[in-house]
Each structure stands twice: as C-alpha cells, then as structure tokens.
Symmetry: C2
Subunit: 110 residues, 2 copies
DNA sequence: TTTATTAAATGCAATATTACAATAAAGAAG
DNA sequence: CTTCTTTATTGTAATATTGCATTTAATAAA
C-alpha cells in the first residue's frame, strides 16, 4: 500500500528509520555537505551548485527541516540555511547506538 | 518523476544515500536488530516476531541483501540470514565519515 | 507604485515503495 | 510419489517520492 506500519515498531526503531530516510537521497547528502562547509547557506547557491531545479531543492530542504537536521533564517529576499547542531548531534548518537551494535558477539551463521 | 538523478552526484554521495535508504524503514531496522541478537536467523522466526506478512518480510530481506548488509544460507527448507560483518563495517565507516563532519568549524548562521 | 529577486507552494507526471493474497519452487517427511 | 513446510516470486492496490513548470508571496530596488 506504500504506507509504513509504524505502529507495530518501537519508538526507537521508527526514529532511527526516519533519520536514515532523511539521509536517503544524494541531493540531501550534498546539501548537508555544503552546509558543513558553510560556503553556501543560501538556498539559491545550493540550486546553482547542485544541478536540480529550485522547487526540487526547496523540497529537499523542507524534508531536512522536517527531520530537524537543518534550520532556515529569512534574510531579506533570500533564506539562509544551516545545520541544526543540537539535533544533528542527537541524530548521530541515535544512529551510532544502532550502528555500533556489537558485531563481535554476533554469530555469522552463513 | 520519482526517479533519482544519481548521475549528477558523486559516487560517495550516492553510496552514503543508498546505505541510509536501506536503513530507512523500521522493519529493516527491526530485522537487523534481531540478527544482531542472533536469536532468529530464520526467516520464519522474523515473520513471527515482527508483525508483517511473510512476503513483506521476504521483500525487506531482499533489499537488505541487495544493499549487502546481510547474507542468507539455505538450510533444508528454511533459510538462515545473518549480518554480513565485512560489509557492515564498511557501511559503518562510510556513514561515520559523513556523520562525523566537523560540526565545530561550521557556523550556525541562524 | 512598479519592477526585480528569491524562495515557497501548487499541481502534475513518472516512478518507487510498502504491503499482502495467491502462487510457485524446493527440499523434507511420510 | 505425495504431502507438508518454508521461502521466493508474481501480481495488484494504495501511497510515497522525485522532479519540474507554473504560480504565489514577500522583500528589495528603482
């Protein structure tokens, strides 16, 4: 049905999956990398540097904002985006708690 | 169009996004957690423990296999799945290289 | 006020994803 | 061989995602 059955999973499983999903598109990875280098906070700059149309970039920015990973600030006619540091660190902690599952105690049965 | 323009992004950006995408569903997080606890390598056990139909679990297992994160081994009529340790560690390194982008040198302009 | 400039919102088309019923395939048990 | 068990495959429906042209909104500049 294209709809995820979130209710049968734990809060943690849903949060991890949602964060991973937000990172699950190369345009959004590219946007975040640019924001980390902080040489292009402005939406228009991102449109120029990444080869996608303005509405498409705007949409990806919206998703990153919904995920809490970035924040935007209106400056005249343009909008300045940047990493939401606090949420970013929280996301990192959440993902790492999962990624660091102890692989040494796990049996590779195949 | 529902189709990602992979060709305009770097190989690294696509690889990071693809790995994140594979982790972008709570059922797949749940499957991986079970495999880490290794108390249910068998596909049928996962179907019982997670509340999704057998074809749905099978489909998620296939995606995790395509992403290289797990491997499967036929044992009689049943199939035993487990974490692909080598690829898992590689994925972790890849994601961490991105997640660990130096946040301290980044300006929070908003 | 009029005219740019910039970004968000809307609307649409194409494709992808999620989920499951029904079926097929492959081996085990009788 | 027949039957049972287990998993993959196929087909289908519903929803989500990606991408862009067009329009709208809001501020700046003239």
């Amino acid at each position: 049905m294209g709809i995820t059955k979130s209710e049968i999973f734990t809060e943690e499983q849903n949060r991890i999956a949602n964060m991973a999903k937000a990172l699950g598109h190369p345009a959004r990875i590219s946007i975040l990398q640019h924001l980390f280098q902080s040489d292009s906070c402005i939406c228009g700059d991102l449109v120029d540097k990444i080869g996608l149309a303005q509405p498409t970039i705007s949409q990806h920015l919206k998703e990153l904002k919904n995920a809490g990973l970035i924040k935007g600030n209106v400056e005249g006619t343009s909008v300045c985006y940047c990493i939401h540091k606090e949420n970013w660190m929280e996301m990192k902690k959440l993902l790492n708690s999962f990624l660091d599952s102890d692989i040494s105690t796990t049996s590779e049965c195949c």
